[in-house]
Symmetry: C2
Amino acid sequence: MRTNMLLLACIFPFVMMAQQLKSPKGNFELNFQIENGVPTYQLLMNGKTIVDKSSLGFDLKDIPDFLDGFELKDDERTSFDETWQPVWGETKSIRNNYNELIVKLEQASTDRFLNIHFRLFDDGLGFRYEFPQQPNLNHFVITEEKTQFKLMGDHKTFWIPGDYDTQEYDYTTSKLSEISGLMDKAITPNASQTSFSKTGVQTALLMKTADSIYINIHEAALVEYACMHLEIDETNYILESHLTPDAIGNKGYMQAPRTTPWRTVIASKNAGDILLSNITLNLNEPTAYEDTSWIQPVKYVGVWWEMITGKSSWAYTDIPSVKLGETDFSKTTPNGRHAANTEHVKMYIDFAAEHGFDQVLVEGWNEGWEDWFGKSKDFVFDFLTPYPDFDVEGLRNYAKSKNVKLMMHHETSGSIRNYERFMDKAYQFMVDNNYNSVKSGYVGDIIPRGEYHYGQWAVNHYQYAIEKAAEYKVMVNAHEAVRPTGLSRTYPNLIGNESARGTEYEAFGGSNPDHTTIIPFTRLVGGPMDYTPGIFEPDVSKYNPNNKSWVNTTIARQLALYVTMYSPLQMAADLPETYNQHLDAFQFIKDVALDWDTSLVLEAEPGDFITYARKAKGTNNWFVGRTNDEEPRNSSISFDFLDADKTYIATIYGDTKDAHYKENPKAYEIKKYRVNHKSKLSQYCAPGGGYAISIFEVTDKSQLKGLKRL
Amino acid sequence: MRTNMLLLACIFPFVMMAQQLKSPKGNFELNFQIENGVPTYQLLMNGKTIVDKSSLGFDLKDIPDFLDGFELKDDERTSFDETWQPVWGETKSIRNNYNELIVKLEQASTDRFLNIHFRLFDDGLGFRYEFPQQPNLNHFVITEEKTQFKLMGDHKTFWIPGDYDTQEYDYTTSKLSEISGLMDKAITPNASQTSFSKTGVQTALLMKTADSIYINIHEAALVEYACMHLEIDETNYILESHLTPDAIGNKGYMQAPRTTPWRTVIASKNAGDILLSNITLNLNEPTAYEDTSWIQPVKYVGVWWEMITGKSSWAYTDIPSVKLGETDFSKTTPNGRHAANTEHVKMYIDFAAEHGFDQVLVEGWNEGWEDWFGKSKDFVFDFLTPYPDFDVEGLRNYAKSKNVKLMMHHETSGSIRNYERFMDKAYQFMVDNNYNSVKSGYVGDIIPRGEYHYGQWAVNHYQYAIEKAAEYKVMVNAHEAVRPTGLSRTYPNLIGNESARGTEYEAFGGSNPDHTTIIPFTRLVGGPMDYTPGIFEPDVSKYNPNNKSWVNTTIARQLALYVTMYSPLQMAADLPETYNQHLDAFQFIKDVALDWDTSLVLEAEPGDFITYARKAKGTNNWFVGRTNDEEPRNSSISFDFLDADKTYIATIYGDTKDAHYKENPKAYEIKKYRVNHKSKLSQYCAPGGGYAISIFEVTDKSQLKGLKRL
């Protein structure tokens, strides 16, 4: 092949030449072609074009661009098939099977080289650029990546506004061509936000074609590079990469040899295939750590929702200004609303211990919350000094005695230099006090000023924090950081991220009822989210009369989210006093697993509903979750995923017939059945509702007494 | 007084009211006045106006400015007289004697408060702003400080271009009104430079009035604030503060209660008083460290000038690109010009030991020099990993055996985050390997990009580095950092700075012959400079045939600089092989002290000449140094500073009659005399020349045999 190509290149140097690549099963086809010197690619699925001929390249700073004048010099083809075991995940093993084409291009006029790697899986495509070692391109600056995705029509799109600082938006569902007209409405207030265009959207972007093909565009392995957005040409349906800039407008500082992150296109006629695709993980490197025994899934409660709702405060006092190391909090007047106090935390520890939770998150334990936000305050927290009413040592011992761990909280307020200065001490403080996981936060504008949450500078920091944490055997759950791109394969101590609109927004005015039917197709494609479900009291004013927010789901759906929003880190976010009023429903949260052997999508339509079934790791127990949009719907599922030779007890936590996310959200009913692999269920899902099912293998037949068959 | 003022304010709220302050001796007078709501001050010396009525205030971001609408609410007056001992210095004790006026202003329309502190010394003025704790001004952003200095005429000015990134310029001497016309010529190339205006200049700024009053304007105690430049109104002779911005154009992030750095005006009819003023040190806080025993002056040689001239290289190889931790230098081809190799460094250690030097600086010892500059490379050095030919342990032991210390070198390439990430490890590495001082460097543009060398962000970093170094008992000599402002009083481990055009420029094309007759009046007012004198081979092409630079001084003047450029850190910068050819002249460098009981200025005229005499600390020995501009001159000094009852031997290292910095720079002659307090000297100084004298007390009369009286 190579010889022929070179021969052709010699004889017909300007002839268009296509390189074709097929996926292992042959259902996907990738065509690479240089057209008038411009590298292009095209992606087909089962003979149908998914991405039409689209150009590839870069704008470079102060040197000729990498856009045209290219010739194909060589190509390489390999096949790869391997099955690997994630430290934690939706399945106990993951097959990584692809055919790869590497095209090696020369820009003759500049005597420079660019390689492009295409990996074609049976569920989609990953491709990335490689800048090989070469004499004429060494250190350079990318002013824009010019990767295009030319779509075949005005697809239905599930999108959030492009933004350099936040992904915490509700999804808007519209045609591609309607996005600019809806942008203003889509941009809702955030603690830090930088919109850049009326036609800019974020990845992972989900689309549905007129002939019902689902397409997801995202990236994998975002390391030392700026986060990619997509700019939409609403007329020609071309999406083009738009990288997050730095303070002076540059987008990437590069040194050859280097590769970019992977750009991914997952496609299927079946929506569930998008949810189950492992392309993002497979395009990341294997685990970087030799020992991963210290990394475990975490189920937790926390001193958190009471502050989010405004019932309590993070701050110990109401003074307007804090100078760490100078302000003597022992001489200040407490505001009486500080939740992170020793007695209150002990109550949470007791609750966690009683119900089998691993950890208790405590926010607001450390000095500085009085003036932490919106002040561009550089030295805002030290991550070491507790408020006077938080007894670090006492709580360490108390938690230990209850076999519960406390979860650390490091809010940085976006002040990255300050966090890095304290990082070693802060992680050591955790080790010394028996913490093994940290929720970090980047609320507000980034310091250094002018940098953005999603630029190369900040991406470098998040990565630094993860790897530094690993030195201390600390697991990281980073909020407001860049959205994940499968890096948890390589760095499995990254057990969670926020980077999307989480449950907290239910207390900030509420989220769309269909939010949780979309987010697994978009944000979760990159990795797990610390969504913090489990709200049992939808009326936020019950906690804080001044907060008129309403949690737009039924209680049954809150339970479902523990299954539909996959994460090795799951919070029961509501208050212990509320759970104590609903211990029957709370039982599901106690029971549900965090790590899985198998995951199945039983039903799925983005924006409408998702039903997952998952088998708990190392057991024969299954959990089913169904999230439903604002329409009342019926869910029909079969239990044929169960072992044929086993009997199970299924406990169904469902909406009652009169349940409704606004009118009657607490209306759930719990039913128990005897089930086997022939059982079928038709279950009503209320508007904004859903259901959850625990399915436990029966080993002692007496447990079945009195139970009906389903 | 207070009562009267308030009474007056009530009755005549818009009357102009002046507050007068006199210096302890009464020679200086400060008048503060609110005029139409604008705070103003005026400075007089012996009844003559030095600074005419000038306004004070700030532009603030997003809130009303602090420029007018002020009323005087209160004032406070104190007197202070104290004598303190610096850890090292030009004199063994320093008197700090001033009268202070604090005016307390209210901006009634915003219900906000601003205090201004004036300290009037017998040699000038210091004033600063205080933002007291208050309800309506807490965290805020300064967009510009609007401090004016209205001068009385078109003074002769010794200036360098205002620049956010460098002070490494030759001085231009002109009238204030001529600056804009000369600016383009004054801006010579630098590794990182950001000019901001045709009329912007740097501090410390020296001026001379038509009636021969010398005026120096600078700042003291620059901490957590941006470096101040001065914008010149060439018509009205008004200088106005211009702070260095950050990446988004803001100039200061503030939190009350806070004070700004001091703004200083030193003035005298006698040029020497400017040189000997201690206002800058006195306006800094006392030493922050309890134990300062680990801080000692340092005389050193170094593997440095051979790289500066281009004879040798910092880099071990000529590869175009390094990835730290990936590039295996043991498998690369050495370029054969790498000076920081074990054998070569041992030679320097031998030389240092033989001649009584404390330390040997070694630059280029660590991996990364192949692509360290101009690449905006974030991870550019790790400060830990030596090149294969530099044996850290072997050299540590060898140096120890010779009772010499190695001096560490941390070039950051401006990549501040990277340096901070490695700082603890890098300082610990120093401790482990017996280094106690570090030359740090910030060559090139700052990373984070968009920040400047002199902005608040970088100023914060330099301070962090100094205080962190102190934790490891490390002394810091920071190059390319912000120019000093007397902080070495508080942090005496800051034993040196560059922050001006040093000797290296003699190998980059040369500096003006009058450079060293100006810089003690300007840059050195803030603190010592690691000027690196002692070049004995003025023809740089002798070291590197491709470098046609010429060192614009005679050898005799090179010796003088050890006295005229006060520093507790002094380098003998030339090569051992060169010193070995001039061991008679080299003897002065070996003899000269680094720390002093007393310093006197015997002759001084900026731009023309300076002659210092200094008494070595704890001895009866004196050293005299004279630097001369490009004119041949005669220096006439008296030795009346000597003890009347003692006899001394003076060794005079002078220019010969035919010496000339261009034509005959090596023409020196050394003469020995018997001297006492009645001796007088008339000494010829060649163009670009000068002289140095060592004066040792004679304790054994036999030493006087054969010596003539002077």
